[in-house]
């Protein structure tokens, strides 16, 4: 793949933006991105030359507008949670409770919508529930110095129990009834563009996601709060001695992660009009995949979004590939996204995490 190196720069831009750490991982990321792009190009080329081969099928699926719109839909909860995770972890609080935040908001959004009849009120309700749970997490980790990983795990477990519990109490089963869903919004003209039209004909949550990604990027790169969050995660003492309260910044960041994850969870259930609470619930690991996404995206909101799209794109492709009957057993096609994540991780290796992430900080502590 001789074209890989040339392309790697362009392709890695979003991820290696100002945040990226030392050279070594920059190059690993660039390499992976390069190889990915090269593979895609080779696939498209192959598909164009041999449209009837399996490669042709892949190429078809890849360039289909439907794949893009499916990927966008699948991205929504993951990407929102990933953005939330970035805020929290960059401030020094590792939030592996994202899964729980998604669950609690997914349920509450349906419940509130069901009770009030307003989809957007439900959306707000979901955000509120998630934010409250995040507040509990913040109090426990920041105030009571609880271990962040264990507390995050607890948040997940609590939500995993609480949402189906409430559904059972209220609706008599772990699954809620169906409520109305917000319709898709189609931007005139733009929606007609081949392939990229998918970006302009989507559920409101997709547009909200675009907005959230952009805003998050802006907050980190351009606002004082963003800088404080970064400093709080890298060297809280520097922030403290600069006269900014680390605890406050961390509270704000964790609550923000609650808000963002809440948007993801609400969007997840409201776009389907139902919460299903059996087993791992409808969230089914999306919160954990969000963590993968932002680590791979190197804590950059745009990088995290693109990583999510990579994963969601694979997921969308596996759905379509199943239909094409390409000879690979369905059960195995379904696990391709997970395999790809492992392979990618093995290639990229370690992510530079914020220096002080996971550590409790007490002002005045020597």
């Amino acid at each position: 793949m001789s074209e890989a190196p040339e392309r790697s720069d362009a392709a890695s831009e979003p991820e290696s933006a100002p945040e990226s750490g030392f050279f070594e991982q920059y190059s690993a990321r660039a390499l992976t991105a390069g190889v990915t792009v090269a593979a895609i190009v080779a696939l498209l080329l192959g598909g164009w030359l041999f449209p009837d081969s399996i490669v042709g099928t892949f190429a078809d699926v890849l360039t289909s507008e439907n794949t893009l719109s499916a990927a966008l839909r699948l991205s929504v909860p993951i990407a929102f949670a990933a953005l939330g995770g970035i805020f929290s972890e960059k401030s020094g609080v590792i939030n592996i409770g994202l899964e729980g935040l998604l669950i609690i908001s997914a349920f509450t959004a349906i419940y509130v919508t069901d009770v009030t009849g307003g989809v957007w009120i439900g959306f707000g309700g979901g955000i509120l529930a998630s934010t409250l749970l995040a507040l509990l997490f913040a109090v426990v980790t920041i105030e009571f110095r609880a271990d962040q990983i264990i507390a995050g795990l607890a948040v997940w477990l609590i939500a995993l129990g609480l949402a189906p519990f409430a559904s059972q109490v209220i609706y008599g089963g772990p699954n809620t009834p169906t409520v109305p869903t917000p319709g898709a919004i189609s931007v005139p003209v733009l929606a007609e563009i081949p392939f990229f039209g998918a970006l302009f004909s989507a559920s409101p949550s997709v547009y909200l996601l675009f907005l959230a990604v952009g805003l998050s990027w802006y907050v980190f790169e351009r606002t004082t709060f963003g800088r404080w969050v970064r400093a709080s995660g890298e060297n809280p003492k520097a922030l403290d001695t600069a006269g900014v309260s680390v605890a406050r910044v961390r509270y704000a960041a964790v609550l923000l992660s609650g808000v963002l994850a809440g948007m993801g969870g609400s969007a997840l259930s409201l776009d389907l009009g139902q919460f299903t609470g059996n087993g791992p619930t409808m969230v089914n690991g999306k919160g954990f995949i969000a963590i993968v996404a932002y680590l791979f995206g190197n804590y950059n909101p745009i990088g995290a979004f693109l990583s999510t799209m990579l994963f969601a794109g694979l997921d969308a492709m596996q759905t379509v590939l199943q239909l094409q009957g390409i000879g690979i057993p369905r059960q195995l096609i379904r696990i391709t996204p997970f395999v790809v994540v492992i392979v990618v991780l093995a290639l990229v290796g370690r992510t530079r995490i914020p220096e002080a992430a996971g550590e409790h900080y007490e002002s005045g502590e020597e």
């Binding site: 499916a70 609706y171 008599g172 009834p177 059996n278 759905t319 239909l323």
Partner: protein
């Protein structure tokens, strides 16, 4: 607003329910609010549902329907258990079987996964009556009910095949006459679901040689998001009718149909009624009368003629499965289609059509 209501002991409050389409009409997984008479309920029934739980809008809810009907009509009382792991089946079966307060007259085991546990439980509690849905355990105290899902699915396939090859529009959906495929969304790969698939495919082929079936298994009976993606992908690749046998995952199929302005076919219950918000895209449902099975076996217990050791095979003939047309769209199905479907039904019952029960 909740909590206990009423001031007297006998005042029974209707359980607060979710919307009709949550399926269940119960306030909890366990209900003992039968009209109490002086000498107690006509019978005590234990319900052990399939994993997936109530509110799936299909299989479990349909089973519960039978119990509710029996509660109303026969004055029985029932207690429910929703296992979430296979290993809990035997626990619950035995809990019911071993209980003395009350003593359960019948334990209904819903779903084929309970078969293994039940063969042990039935042996351990020879005095206890059991009924099993979707599989057969050979024991003198068990009545089995299996369904010919492939027969009903054949009719669904035939209808889909006939409609997709013509210009048809009704409710919120429409078909394009030139499309040549339809879809099938399954839950977890298993023999049972493949039975649905096989019948459906056979029916589609009977309708027209040119129509293909795209198939997708989401790997879950409770993942509407995956169901939606699968169905959307099918609609986008030209299918305009998708049949699902995927429990609650099917909710996503309906939603995709609505968004894409295409059609779907429900399963297990008449989903145009249990999921009324999608009745404008549900052409029909392949109902599987689990409720009848449950009701009949309860009835036999109440009437004292439960025998055990039987396996009832419920097909089109026994009305154990059927294709029912959608509540809203049914009337718009072209008569010739309905006629052909009706004829096929007769032929199957008469044995003139042999429907395969596993994919070829």
């Amino acid at each position: 607003s909740g909590g206990p209501t009423g001031g007297t002991d006998t005042a029974t409050d209707a359980p607060e329910t979710g919307d009709g389409d949550s399926g269940g009409d119960s306030s909890g997984e366990e209900t003992t609010t039968a009209e109490p008479t002086d000498d107690g309920p006509a019978a005590n029934i234990g319900m052990v549902y399939a994993t997936g739980g109530l509110g799936d809008g299909s299989f479990n809810d349909q089973a519960q329907q039978g119990a509710l009907q029996a509660e109303e009509e026969l004055g029985i009382s029932f207690n429910e258990a929703q296992p979430d792991e296979v290993s809990q089946f035997s626990t619950f079966q035995q809990q019911f079987a071993g209980s003395t307060d009350p003593n359960y007259d019948l334990v209904c085991c819903i779903g084929f996964l309970q078969a293994d546990a039940l063969s042990d439980s039935a042996e351990s509690y020879p005095e206890q009556n059991f009924m099993l849905v979707d599989s057969a355990v050979d024991a003198p105290n068990v009545n089995n009910y299996v369904f010919a899902e492939h027969e009903g699915s054949y009719l669904a396939g035939l209808m889909a095949s006939l409609l997709t090859t013509q210009e048809f529009s009704a409710g919120a959906g429409s078909t394009a006459g030139d499309s040549t495929n339809v879809g099938f969304v399954g839950g977890v790969e298993s023999d049972l679901i493949q039975k649905f698939e096989a019948g459906f495919v056979a029916g589609v082929q009977a309708g027209s040689d040119d129509v293909d079936v795209s198939t997708n298994y989401t790997g879950s009976f409770n993942d509407p998001a995956a169901g939606k993606e699968a169905a959307t992908a099918m609609y986008n690749s030209g299918a305009d009718i998708v049949y699902h046998a995927a429990g609650n995952t099917g909710t996503g199929v309906f939603q995709a149909a609505q968004e894409q302005e295409k059609f779907a076919i429900g399963v297990d219950r008449d989903q145009s009624i249990t999921k009324p918000s999608y009745s404008d895209v549900i052409l029909g449902s392949m109902v599987k009368r689990v409720d009848t099975a449950v009701y009949t076996s309860i009835q036999s217990v109440v009437e004292g003629n439960f025998e055990g050791g039987n396996t009832s095979e419920l097909g089109l003939d026994q009305e154990g499965v059927a294709l029912v047309y959608g509540d809203q769209l049914g009337s718009e199905i072209p008569q010739d289609v309905a006629d052909q479907v009706a004829t096929a039904r007769e032929d199957i019952i008469a044995g003139d059509i042999d429907v395969p029960s596993s994919p070829q």
